[in-house]
Symmetry: C2
Subunit: 224 residues, 2 copies
Amino acid sequence: MKSDVLAAKPTVKKIIDAATRLFATKGFAAVSVKEIADTADVNVALISYYFGGKENLYVYLLEQQFVAVEEFIANLEQEKIGPVEKITRFALSMLAMKGKSPFAERLILREIVDPTECFETVAKKKIVRLHYFIRDCLREAVALGHFRPDLDPDYAAVTLSSAVRLHIFTQRYLGDILPERPDQAEYYARQALEIFLRGACSSRQIPNTCTDQGGKASGCQIPK
Amino acid sequence: MKSDVLAAKPTVKKIIDAATRLFATKGFAAVSVKEIADTADVNVALISYYFGGKENLYVYLLEQQFVAVEEFIANLEQEKIGPVEKITRFALSMLAMKGKSPFAERLILREIVDPTECFETVAKKKIVRLHYFIRDCLREAVALGHFRPDLDPDYAAVTLSSAVRLHIFTQRYLGDILPERPDQAEYYARQALEIFLRGACSSRQIPNTCTDQGGKASGCQIPK
DNA sequence: GTCTATATTGCGATAGAC
DNA sequence: GTCTATCGCAATATAGAC
């Protein structure tokens, strides 16, 4: 849409930075162009001038975020590492990308929660692609015997990305009651990942929730 | 705010039903009172007449949703069952409440993602309370030896509610690519729960992610 | 490129008829 | 209790001065 050389202009960059932060924090509907302009310290009219309106600006920003994520995924797919390490790196990717695109996670998660009309079809392809990446890793891990054979890769993929990602938003409410850790975000991601990996590979029985004793892994019943 | 007897009036009920569905689906900022009135098939002015405006209506609805959830939690706390079964029931609560308040999960999750000014302080107390319930169950389960001793209950609580809840929103994008299961929502919740429970109680080593071999459970390193 | 001023639309709320 | 008409306001976008 807009060439990258345009994004180098200081005024354009100020708009991009302010808009990215605001959209990520408050969501598309709750942010006004005036607020973006004030935050960026530029004139309101310049947003239409450079981007052709609020919607176009939003679409441009989201596409940029997905580019960053897809690059990350593409690199990961090429690496000669096992599937378990791939999803490990994916789960920690939000930390790895913190410097480059610190709001990518929030913006994408927002688009999942509140699909914008102007971006829904694009978002769908990208989100599905992201899902397939995780699912295929899980499938491979099951095939290799790293994970238990009864793990459902399609659904486990949703569990993994949910577990690792939603915490970004819970921080607002739970941030000050959670015990302090050296690097809170990374600590959380690693905790969640560890639970997932153990839960995916373990064939151990779950205490107090199994009616039969010697059943195989998949027979471990969760009570009604 | 409004007495329950008022909610029995057919017009009021139509407004409540339409507004709950719309707020849950699109979020507070993206819904207009006109849209609510049209969906409910009542006159626009009646929303102000009965509820005193859009914000008041939203606050009223959210409070109702939290009442349902808190009742559920309060009942759960009184039951003479173990902590593992308590969180199991909690995780499946969205299914248990489907009949009574089918939009509770969505509305609460929305309030976490996009805190509304008019409800943030109230929401904080309720969400923190919900978090404490889960965390205390996890603590107890660790103390009883059901879960591994190095599980961090504060952070694991966030992981659990994230894993079990976020899927509601991913369905829009992944709904048609996920393989069909008899009862999709329940199936997902149980899969996520099973992963969590196994991950919480297991002391098994994770394949391909551990550098040292014979380390104890807490020493299981996730690679950088 | 940047600004001011303004056009235009749609929102939420309410006064007043019925 | 329900409706119509309208007010006031804020939002987006743009025309045109500089």
